[in-house]
Symmetry: C3
Subunit: 152 residues, 3 copies
């Protein structure tokens, strides 16, 4: 690789890291436009029982009544460190995510999940074309999400 | 941007990431000097009901009796992944932070907060000039901290 | 430093970050070969009461009955952001780690620990030669792990 290609690769890793890092602050501040803009226009967030397809569905989820209840209680969507595999203009990232919720007794861990992100290089920078999220509750499917593409 | 400018930008992102990452290990090891040194000499940590202004106040907080009780119990200050916006010699980073505490029943989530960090490039490297921290307990103020400056 | 050296340093930081990030997805997916491959052939994971030495011991831990019980319940090994100190062909990283476990009542924080990683540059990339992990339960030893090598 040329030096320029090596710098480009580092920039890609940094940009992808930032896109994934931005998801939590976007949804926890109720910034529905920003959250949706992290995905490609036809990007999919597959989080059973939901499957949100496209900008409008993503925006509606963040702006919707279910998410507003979380915001009113106090919620924090944290991302674990992503393991990123670059493949030219696409990339796969694997990580954990957790959601913490506030209640009368303090803060509780509400969700712990495995994530696989497929990202695409677009004219606006790296965007998420597919995020698949499965609870790490012992189901084999969640474990499979974390498998592969994690060889550094 | 020239290649050198692109490398400088990546170095800035890496250095800012390291400064934020260092806060937890510094305070959880009781390293009051190191924790204070992450801030500029007149740096501010705004964490109600405290507002710590300057090196001595920051050092005194870590060395003080309240923090020592946390250390004796066992505490972990974890930082979520920061979303960083560089603006020349200053930067803004937004992230979540959580504090876990040990007790007779194991480990509990004690605090979950939103953070906005303002950082400055100094002759000693990037340092925190202001960290604002608010509990994510449903208060609008915490959500506002996470808003803006998160566009990747 | 030349520009090439500066890029190399950034690549080293990125590679080390990826190795540490890969540990959780590897063990939480039961990928025993991948988890062991993050370490040098004689790499050590010191996690009392265990001290795993070498590839086969690491692989056996992930493939073993104790870890399989965790996988069946649902577990998530998350890494806090590492503070990395490069020293040529070796590096030291310090961070927190937490393990969350699923049970009938949801997800609980099972372990919260301090970690010090010693890494080596090998012909296969950066690998872990020693990971020392201690519960942050108030013990001085855990605090000492987090001390030093955290000056950004």
């Amino acid at each position: 690789m040329t030096l320029e290609e090596r710098v480009q690769r580092l920039e890609d890793l940094a940009a992808i890291t930032q896109v994934i890092a931005a998801y939590g602050p976007a949804v926890d501040s109720g910034s529905s436009d920003l959250a949706a803009a992290l995905f490609t226009p036809d990007g999919v967030y597959d989080v059973p029982p939901l499957r949100l397809e496209g900008t409008e569905a993503l925006r509606a989820m963040v702006a919707g009544p279910h998410h507003q209840v979380l915001l009113d209680r106090g919620c924090a969507h944290l991302q674990g460190q992503p393991v990123i595999t670059l493949q030219g203009d696409t990339a796969v990232a694997v990580n954990h995510s957790i959601v913490l919720l506030h209640d009368d007794q303090g803060f509780q861990v509400w969700r712990v999940a495995a994530n696989r992100w497929t990202l695409s290089r677009t004219s606006d920078g790296w965007r998420v074309s597919l995020r698949t999220n499965r609870l790490l509750d012992g189901a084999e499917e969640a474990r499979q999400l974390l498998r592969g593409n994690i060889d550094p």
